[in-house]
């Protein structure tokens, strides 16, 4: 029976895909990579509100890009070739994973969390865009580094297969990915990747954005929230707000909906590109994250039933309008930065 445990250092991260990207790249020789750099280079910051699409009986609201993009963009920006595969057959998925391990590659896997045994039951919804790294196999059990957990875990072959082939929206279909070869990346490459990441994020939040995405989407959501009480009734409106807060939090964003991580990214970017505007704009993102948290407290007042007047919904909506303005300014400032 196949037994391999690759030398792999588990590093806890705030968010799963950042964490997987960081750990896989670090392991492949990219010494400079950190979680904020992976998030920023991957242009991870986003906002979208899709009123017609429902997930867990609430509207779809996301504070970051689609699953898989952070890894893809970061590797592309750093010129690192990637292997990515989906599978029809469970057997083929397992076999390919074992071959990767035997060849010395720790592998990123997209999984669903509903059947993930080490997750607390309260978190186990049918959410299929979680990411973890498999770095070893022993007697048919897999060594797993899940970036949001403090420690590593072990999954049986069946448990791993079950989460890799979770069903429903964004079904992973056994998807796995890893950097094809080890590479050393120069500081100059990192610098260029940072610029392109910022430019991409500016586009996604400002110019490419339709009415429901980017800063427009935040404003749109703010205006919609003011109507939720009348349109949905207090109870359902509360559920929608709870959904907003859960998405804003996901796991480990500290309540700021990824805005803090982006602030940290801009500070780190300053280390490569000493333009003081970056530090100032970083503070703007901190302010935005703080305001997202304040909005979450207001939302909680409503879904706890402590408050619930139309005025309370107006205040909630206005927070988002204010956030939209702050982030718009921040991204315009990033757009206008003069790179040396």
């Amino acid at each position: 029976m196949l037994t391999t445990t690759l030398p792999f250092k588990h590093i806890q991260a705030a968010h799963c895909e950042n964490g997987v990207t960081m750990s896989l790249l670090k392991n492949a020789g990219v010494q400079q990579i950190t979680e904020p750099l992976a998030f920023g280079i991957g242009a991870g910051l986003f906002f979208v509100y899709i009123p017609l699409l429902k997930i867990n009986n609430g509207p779809v609201i996301a504070f970051r890009t689609l699953p898989g993009l952070i890894f893809k963009r970061t590797c592309k920006a750093l010129n690192i070739p990637v292997v990515r595969k989906k599978f029809r057959s469970k057997e083929a998925a397992e076999q390919f994973l074992n071959e990767c391990l035997a060849a010395g590659h720790p592998v990123g896997c997209q999984v669903g969390v509903y059947y993930l045994p080490y997750f607390p039951k309260e978190y186990r919804f049918h959410f299929n865009a979680h990411n973890l790294i498999v770095y070893g196999i022993e007697d048919g059990n897999y060594m797993v580094s899940d970036p949001v957990m403090e420690h590593t875990n072990i999954l049986t072959g069946y448990e791993l297969e079950r989460v890799r082939f979770a069903k429903g929206a964004l079904a992973p279909n056994g998807q796995l990915y890893y950097p094809k070869e080890n590479t050393v990346v120069t500081d100059d490459q990192v610098k260029r990747a940072i610029k392109s990441g910022i430019e991409k994020n500016v586009r996604n939040m400002l110019t490419m954005a339709g009415p429901i995405t980017g800063v427009n989407g935040i404003r749109y959501t703010g205006n919609r929230i003011k109507k939720w009480r009348d349109n949905l009734g207090l109870k359902k409106a509360g559920l929608y707000l709870a959904q907003l807060v859960r998405m804003q939090e996901e796991i480990g964003t500290g309540g700021g909906g990824f805005r803090y991580i982006y602030g940290a990214f801009l500070q780190e970017a300053h280390g490569y590109i000493p333009n003081d505007d970056l530090l100032e704009i970083s503070q703007t993102f901190t302010a935005s994250g703080d305001l997202w948290r304040t909005a979450a407290v207001q939302a909680a007042g409503i879904y706890k039933g402590r408050i619930g007047s139309q005025e309370d919904f107006n205040i909630m909506g206005d927070y988002l309008l204010e956030i939209a303005e702050i982030e718009k300014k921040a991204f315009i400032a990033l757009k206008n930065i003069k790179w040396q």
Binding site: Q12, V148, G238, G252, G256, I261, V297
Partner: protein, 135 residues
């Protein structure tokens, strides 16, 4: 958010693992800080679970009223929707929707019932009587 303001309210996740949060130190520099959880988030999660409980109860009542088949009850119990259930059973979504009707459910073959029973981790008799088998 300042480092000392990172919330430390022990929640469901905090009992299993602490979370990494990005926050600023005295000099305004970003650093990471472990968090036990945040009340605001815990209650958001509680709100969602409370809704789930209500949906399960409503589904049970519908089955008792003969307005839906027991599949609706188990589907809500498993936090699923038709798409997810279709994925796990291998049926088409339109088939699952049909099977939610009591008359159609009562005429299903054991072979088809077995597929549902496996997904819901119950026996066929338990499936018919809405008897839950806690893992």
């Amino acid at each position: 958010m300042k480092k000392e303001d990172v919330p430390q309210d022990l929640g469901a996740l905090g009992k299993v693992t602490k979370e990494v949060c990005y926050a600023t130190d005295e000099s305004g520099k970003y650093t990471t800080q472990l968090s036990d959880g945040w009340d605001i988030k815990t209650t958001a999660l509680d709100t969602a679970w409370h809704d789930v409980e209500e949906r399960i109860a409503a589904a049970k009542q519908k089955v008792l009223n003969n307005e839906a088949s027991p599949i609706l009850f188990f589907m809500e119990k498993g936090l699923m929707d038709v798409q997810i259930l279709a994925g796990y059973t291998g049926f088409w979504q339109w088939q699952v929707k049909r099977h939610l009707k009591p008359d159609v459910f009562n005429s299903l073959s054991d072979k088809k019932l077995q597929k549902y029973a496996e997904v819901f981790n119950v026996s066929i008799p338990d499936l018919k009587t809405m008897t839950v088998n806690e893992e």
